[in-house]
Symmetry: C2
Subunit: 273 residues, 2 copies
């Protein structure tokens, strides 16, 4: 299959650089075709701005959504944006790899999302009616494709555990996994997270490569996180709140996962209930 | 008092631009001194890179934390970074204002955090021992200062409600409010969030300005979100997990707030319990 690896780390000789090289080799050895968007090496333009449309702003003010729609619909996007959209259409699976900086992706990758995710491509897709609120959260341009995060952190795994001070890792990643990946249609596989990167030696690195290799070998058969589809009956429209009889009296990110198993919150809530 | 407004929107004639201008006038009329870091207008460099140190990378590879520490400790930071740190030291209250793009801050503001939050300034501060794991989460360089978010969203308030499909707004903002602001020491005030920005008219804008004005008038007396202090006994060290007897059997972002009232999750969990 076709795999797009979107990668954000400034140093090729870093742990992230080594893991990226490992992943590409492993995937190619398995017969996949791989493209890498190495954002630092590409000197990716991180900042969404009016010059993202070859027509500039329409009228007297720049309106990001409106102007993005115009450029997307009329073939007036900057070439760098259109090229990344082509890669996304080409890919069967997309991997985002990055170090967790301040509990989110690096700015350069956030800017890749903001610019490549044009209106009409990743949002503003599909009809809005009483039963269907746009093609999103399980439907959309990227439906049928798979996505997965590879994330490194300096902090320890316990710091990101269900009761860890940073918050559970799946909750920290929810705005990305659900909000950035599931929203335009991806099926999202569980993330592969490497903690405590300051403590790395050859033995540990070998173990990580073995684990990561197994995840890469099973990309096509790993069960995605069972996020709930927006337009399949679970949500009221247009309030987009979960129906009262589903996970009643509960709230938080976990209720948007069908079995709750991927979000620490709901597992605990169910035990309480 | 001294107020720093860090602002990220590309269009001065936008709703965000109007609210920024309103906020500055309101604060100045109340006798405060205001500085604005208008990141788009400043053409802020969003991408953290080795040229953030005047000495470049140390040795044969760029290591962001190590090289940031070196530059910070030796007065070798790029001037734009040092200048923003001075503003943060000067400020009594810091406001971050931005549109919520893909469930987080715009890339240009994320890059402001990554670059200005140097090692030794915003992290890597204080001793690590059996009872004290660095000056963070309630202690640190920015302790004693207040911070608050002003956030706009295109989505409706119900979409961000406790059972809304996007996730509860306080959970979406937790990585910023807790991870970016509380971590280096800020007391974090509840956010001011404006939903459904596509539906704006003069009547609604007047109401928003009234509400926002009241929030700005009360910056000094509004109670902060009672996040738990890391080194005050609530957490095990070094695992940094919440003590078993505090919010027992619960997990998720909400357990890191003392009364749980600011996080939808915990309120619901307690009802269940």
């Amino acid at each position: 299959m076709n795999v797009l690896l979107v990668y954000a780390h400034p140093e090729p000789k870093s742990l992230n650089g080594a893991l990226k090289d490992f992943a590409v080799k492993r995937l190619e050895a398995a017969g996949h075709t791989v493209q890498v968007s190495d954002l630092y090496a590409m000197q990716w333009k991180a900042v969404l701005a009016e010059d993202d449309s070859l027509d500039g702003k329409l009228g007297d003010r720049f309106e990001p959504s409106r102007d993005s729609r115009h450029a997307y619909q009329n073939g007036r996007q900057r070439e760098d944006i259109a090229h990344e959209q082509e890669k996304l259409r080409w890919a069967d699976t997309v991997i985002l790899q990055f170090p967790l900086w301040w509990f989110s992706m690096p700015a350069i990758m956030k800017g890749w999302i903001e610019r490549v995710y044009a209106y009409g491509f990743a949002y503003g897709v599909g009809e809005h009616s009483d039963t269907h609120w746009g093609d999103r959260y399980g439907e959309g341009t990227l439906a049928g494709k798979r996505a997965m995060l590879i994330v490194t952190t300096g902090g320890w795994d316990s710091h990101y555990s269900p009761r860890g001070i940073n918050g559970p890792i799946n909750d920290i990643l929810f705005p990305i996994q659900h909000g950035v990946l599931y929203y335009p249609g991806f099926d999202v596989l569980p993330p592969y997270v490497i903690y405590r990167t300051g403590r790395m030696d050859d033995v540990r690195l070998a173990k990580i490569c073995q684990e990561l290799g197994e995840r890469l070998d099973s990309l096509e058969k790993t069960a995605p996180i069972p996020f709930r589809r927006q337009n399949a009956g679970d949500y009221e429209i247009p309030s987009l709140t979960l129906r009262d009889d589903i996970a009643p009296e509960q709230s938080g990110f976990g209720i948007h996962v069908e079995d709750g198993s991927q979000q620490g919150i709901l597992t605990k809530q169910r035990r309480l209930g």
